[in-house]
């Protein structure tokens, strides 16, 4: 049965609604709370970014440090989203299409990074690769720089964004079942043909959804990256890290200018997410009912 994305209109029967004043009060609370805690913070980002006019705004973004941070953020996002896309698909196939003992445990493990503080997500890599870490001396001997460099940042980001793709796919693939894949196999399709011609087209919206959220988090990750980055100006600062540095140096326009790009990314992600959710809702309607 398709679940409505939004509530179905309700008949105004006495049995299912509250007195008018209660309704007004609850709606008022909702609007007030969401405005104070969500709308205003969003508005202030753009207000502060443009506080000294468009020219100052554009100049802040054109700054070489800003440019290098934007570039690094994009590279890190491509690496970690790419890795999590491939492995998320693989994990979702293994978990959603088969029955095996320990399945629930495996799903919890995949979800684990969601419950770990971002700072700890960075810390674990410092403990592995840092000078006092388990692999630190060996890395130093072989002249491999993971920490305070791109690989460390990409690793920490991959850790933090690990669950997004598989989490978007597993429930979708479980709901779709295995009948279409079985039909393809019985019609003579190979395993890869079945995956690319039947499974993938069926989950494309869910996959896009997962990738989108994964990307938003990858570009915006702060805590974990902050721990492993080393804050080398012009080299290992991602956009969120640069926001922090500029803000602490009282360069508010520059800080909020970079922040406005990240806020824009978040808003675009949310719009795309809302559109995709509508798509997914239609796609999930199984063809047999």
């Amino acid at each position: 049965m398709p679940k409505p994305a939004i509530a179905v209109p309700l008949e105004r029967t006495d049995a299912r609604s509250e007195p008018r004043w209660v309704r007004g009060l609850l709606i008022g609370f909702t609007i007030l709370f969401l405005t104070v805690f969500i709308v205003l913070p969003l508005v202030i980002v753009f207000a502060e970014a443009f506080a000294r006019g468009t020219y100052a705004y554009l100049a802040a973004l054109a700054d070489p440090e800003a440019q290098s941070a934007i570039k690094l953020t994009l590279i890190v996002a491509v690496i970690s989203v790419g890795l999590n896309l491939v492995f998320g698909l693989i994990a979702a196939w293994a978990i959603a299409k088969f029955e095996f003992p320990g399945k629930t445990l495996l799903i919890s493990l995949v979800d684990l990074p969601f419950s770990v503080s971002p700072v700890i997500s960075g810390l674990v890599f410092v403990l592995l690769f840092g000078a006092q870490g388990f692999l630190g001396p060996w890395l130093q001997d072989n002249n491999i720089q993971l920490l305070f460099a791109l690989p460390g940042i990409a690793l920490a980001t991959t850790f933090v964004t690990f669950p997004f793709v598989s989490r978007a796919l597993i429930p979708l693939m479980q709901e779709q079942g295995t009948a279409e894949e079985e039909a393809a196999l019985s019609l003579g399709a190979s395993g890869l043909q079945t995956f690319f011609r039947v499974t993938l087209p069926n989950i494309k919206w869910g996959l896009l959804y997962g990738v989108l959220l994964c990307n938003a988090r990858a570009m915006g990750e702060f805590g974990a990256v902050s721990v492993v980055s080393g804050h080398i100006r012009g080299e290992t600062n991602t956009m969120p890290l640069l926001v922090e540095i500029l803000y602490n140096e009282y360069q508010f326009v520059s800080a909020f200018a970079i922040a406005s790009l990240l806020a824009l990314l978040a808003l675009v992600t949310l719009v795309a997410k809302t559109v995709l959710e509508r798509h997914l809702d239609e796609g999930q309607r199984p063809s047999e009912h």
């Binding site: 939004i6 509250e18 709606i27 969500i38 770990v116 700890i120 870490g133 995956f195 969120p240 508010f252």
Partner: protein, 278 residues
């Protein structure tokens, strides 16, 4: 051939994909986390207890856990009201308000942090009027609380929303037809049905707030023993190369996080037991 193996699977690729999944999971997640616990075993129990019960650590943990708990409580109540209004009522802008509930998920925490700080600073849009009333938010524990409330908003709303939408209208009508007034119907029929989802949302919001870093550190003031959160103390200890201290605090926080996951799984199972299969 004497029959096929009964363990053969219909779809191909189980061995390969499961192998890759476990390998990848081990490299990215399990190994690094195991490293953390291994590191903590380098400490003797006495050392561990010493670190965790030192005044500054204890205060940081108290601040993180205590304020996260309060913030999750506010999220529980406000989230309940918001989800009710969004699902049950029509009002102008409802769809937009529904969509922006997810902003704290999507907005990078550093951005949220500087935005909230500016908003609640003494000369800020909300900070100024509050300062008139003698309430100071930015750079106080109250600021931490505000940031934690912000990042916790989506959890309760999004866990309860699908349950409330799916709630069978007939149970309310049945309650009403049996003579219950609206308040009795809500408190005795609807709220108990939503309870597992509400508690799950509460637990998730709590877990997120405990570990939150980016949106909190700007507004917190970061005064040791007063407004210093545990994740920040980890960062400080790391920058002082006191790895043992950082590890010990992280282990305490992780164990609590695991407890929360366990509780959430339990609640989910409980919820499934209470809802008859369709």
């Amino acid at each position: 051939m004497k029959g096929g193996s009964g363990r053969r699977r219909t779809l191909p690729g189980f061995g390969l994909t499961m192998g890759l999944t476990l390998t990848w999971l081990s490299i990215i997640i399990l190994l690094p986390l195991a490293g953390l616990f291994l590191k903590s075993f380098e400490l003797s129990l006495a050392q561990f207890v010493d670190i965790v019960t030192s005044r500054r650590t204890l205060n940081a943990l108290k601040i993180s856990f205590g304020l996260a708990f309060l913030a999750a409580l506010v999220n529980l109540v406000m989230g309940g009201i918001i989800v009710w209004a969004l699902v049950r009522y029509r009002f102008p802008g409802r769809r937009i308000f529904d969509a922006i509930v997810d902003v704290p998920f999507a907005l990078p925490t550093a951005v949220a942090g500087i935005a909230l700080t500016t908003l609640f600073a003494q000369n800020g849009w909300l900070g100024a009027p509050l300062a008139e009333l003698g309430i100071k938010v930015s750079f106080t524990p109250l600021g931490i609380f505000v940031a934690m409330v912000f990042i916790g908003i989506p959890f309760v709303v999004r866990t309860v929303q699908p349950v409330l939408i799916d709630l069978d209208p007939e149970i309310e009508e049945a309650a009403a037809s049996l003579g219950a007034n609206r308040w009795q119907t809500v408190s005795r029929v609807i709220l108990p049905s939503l309870l597992p989802a509400l508690l799950t949302g509460f637990a998730l919001a709590f877990a997120r707030a405990v570990g939150e870093y980016g949106s909190v550190i700007f507004i917190a003031g970061n005064l040791p023993n007063v407004s210093e959160i545990a994740p920040l103390l980890i960062v400080i200890r790391l920058s002082e190369f006191r790895y043992a201290d950082a590890t010990a605090i992280a282990v305490v926080m992780l164990l609590v996080a695991f407890l929360v996951i366990f509780a959430v799984n339990r609640m989910q199972r409980w919820a499934q037991l209470r809802v008859p299969a369709h």
